[in-house]
């Protein structure tokens, strides 16, 4: 059994629901970059969307763009990762409550729970399948992806939708600023290629992947496996990569996606591990285009899958500023504060 990424859709701080970022990226210039919104009306009727916050609208749009109508109710699973859920709604309810505990509007509360995003997709798709939401900081998306792979490996799935969604509000941005998440200026590609100071910049993302064992004519790539680790030893990670290569008959990893974001400590760990795990692979970076969030690793997978489909890694997303033609295998590495790690292996179809 092979798992394929059959379709993928992203809404982020780049042009939404397309691959404009691949050939003609826009360079973020703010410390907090917000979603570039698609025309939500194409995906959600006004009657349904009237109570929805931005994160939810983006989730429904990227999910809808990913799964054609006839497939929606037949998905075996809808798995979602979100570090913070709909924080816009959470904040609205919290602020109103701090003013007084009377006459509070239920709509904001209802949307504040993390699982609203994934369950609303199920409601819109009339899908009774497995439905789950992960909220585990920087590996929230990776957890959802791993869970999907597990279900495929148990032969319980033929198709599944995996989402990674996070939004960032002004207020939450300020709170994170107090604990040193962000740089005091905008982050450039030079920072991401060679970080010398702490902090990164904030992005927003809703990425959806349609996984299937029965791909359409042009799937993006094959998803070999996703493995999660907590405080792993170098040996564990090395063994994992070796085992995966062996299991999938891969003798060379062409490129590795690393999550450099301009934060010195964060990036040093990626560079160290890239050197350790895949010393000869081309290093792909993406957070200079998309910013950072708890589920930005979803875009790491998206970027890698897109490169495999396009048979090209453009120079503007590589560490050495040189393009790579015809990549066959890409490893995607993610870590959160050197605690939680994930490794995903993708190969071309």
């Amino acid at each position: 059994m092979s798992i394929y990424i059959d379709k993928a859709a992203q809404i982020s701080i780049q042009q939404p629901l397309c691959n404009e970022w691949f050939s003609n990226p826009s360079m973020p210039t703010d410390r907090l970059c917000k979603f570039v919104r698609p025309d939500f009306k194409q995906y959600i009727s006004a009657a349904i969307s009237r109570r929805m916050g931005t994160a939810l609208k983006c989730t429904l749009s990227s999910a809808s763009a990913c799964v054609s109508e006839e497939k929606r109710s037949n998905l075996d699973g809808i798995l979602t990762g979100t570090g913070l859920g709909s924080i816009e709604n959470t904040e609205n309810f919290l602020l109103a409550m701090l003013e007084g505990e009377e006459g509070l509007s239920p709509s904001n509360f209802m949307q504040s729970t993390h699982n609203t995003l994934g369950s609303q997709v199920a409601i819109a798709f009339k899908c009774h399948g497995y439905n789950i939401t992960y909220a585990h900081r920087g590996t929230s998306f990776d957890s959802a992806l791993m869970n999907a792979v597990v279900k495929f490996q148990l032969n319980e799935y033929k198709t599944a939708l995996v989402n990674g969604v996070d939004e960032m509000t002004e207020k939450y941005f300020q709170l994170f600023d107090h604990i040193g998440f962000w740089k005091d200026r905008n982050v450039t590609i030079e920072d991401v290629r060679n970080a010398t100071s702490p902090g990164t910049f904030a992005g927003e993302n809703s990425v959806s992947l349609l996984l299937t064992t029965q791909p359409s004519e042009q799937p993006l790539c094959e998803l070999c496996d996703t493995q999660l680790f907590y405080r792993p030893s170098d040996e564990q990670l090395k063994t994992c990569v070796e085992k995966l290569c062996h299991a999938f008959n891969i003798n060379r990893i062409d490129a590795i996606v690393i999550g450099n974001n301009g934060d010195k400590e964060n990036d040093a760990e990626y560079r160290r591990l890239a050197q350790l795990l895949t010393p000869d692979a081309k290093q792909i970076i993406y957070k200079h285009l998309f910013g950072e969030s708890f589920t930005m690793s979803g875009l790491g997978i998206y970027v890698a899958a897109t490169c495999l489909k396009e048979k090209r890694v453009p120079a503007h997303i590589t560490m050495d500023n040189e393009a790579l033609e015809n990549p066959q295998t890409i490893l995607v590495l993610n870590h959160f504060k050197q605690l939680d790690y994930s490794i995903t292996l993708l190969k071309s179809c």
Binding site: S119, H136, Y230, D340
Partner: protein
Amino acid sequence: MTEKIVVTGYGIISSIGAGVEKTREALLKEEKSIGRVAHLNTCHTDIPCGEVKESDDELKKALGIASDQIITRTPLLAMMAMKEAISTSRLTDQISTAFINGTTVGGMEKSEKYYYDFFEGKHTEYISAHDCGAGTELVSHLFGHFDLMTTISTACSSAANSVILGADLIKTGRVDAAIVGGTESLSKFHLNGFNSLMILEHQPCRPFEKSNQGLNLGEGAGYIVIERESVAKARGANIICELSGYANTCDAFHQTATSETSEGAYRAMTNALLNAHLKTNEIDYINAHGTGTSDNDLHESIALKRVFGENIPPFSSTKAFTGHTTSAAGAVESVISILALQYGFIPANLGFSEPIEATGLIPVQKTLHRTLNHVMTNSFGFGGNDSSCIFSKYQPS
């Protein structure tokens, strides 16, 4: 056929007490615990809850944690239950183990207290303690080393889904054991949230009662240790029971209301039975979700009738004991179900007097003592995130 997954340890804390022994005693004595909150700072003091008796400081003391350590109440409750789960199972990190935690409130109970202070640069150490994963990380330090760790947040079915993921990780060989469950403290945020939905009862809740108005919120934590049968046997673990089946489905109808036919609940129970290779007449007791709201109780009754027909097994909701412990409920009630299986009793559904007219179902009203072989527990969440798990008497392979 895949190898059995067995339960080798458990831990629990709720308003009826800390620890499995205290919990069993309270259930058997039908002790009531729902009442006025003492620790939660809210103006809704007329809304009764199932609050854990210990304050944060008392919990810290019981856990041997310095009183000035930065930790929110959700992970504190978790640590109480986790410690017991680890010690009853005698599991060590020689076995590759996952920690799957269910929570939704996370550190909100402190964020709501210090929110304005944060912006003035005060108490900022609680900012990074806010998200759900932060608590999981803190709690994990109680164990030597987890190979894999994550946090599930599907509202009131979070802990049940942790059990399910843990089992699937073992089945696919990713780990040999898992500590699974969930934790939730009361917060002003979700007390007011449930109040805005007008589903809070102003007296102790009465699940499955004809005239029921709503639920009581509770707080607590529960964890169970599950592992591959061969691993448990090899290390000489005390096998308490089996996790024989489970299912996760979605009602896919409305964020807070249930579909007329209770599709999600129906599928969760049906698929769990299929997964366990059990027939409906083999279930000896159902620990129902039974929140006390008319929406849940009516629709859970409809689903029970759809699944079990005329022969609905004895069932009760234990939420009149503990209150609705939301993200922890699936684990708190799994531990209660395991105790029922282990010690041969069916806990009472407190406060019941008259059945819901449309369905006429009558839960177990007084504690029953009898041998149980298979017990089902239901956890249904916002958004129709519905899951069921089945625990069975251990039959060595």
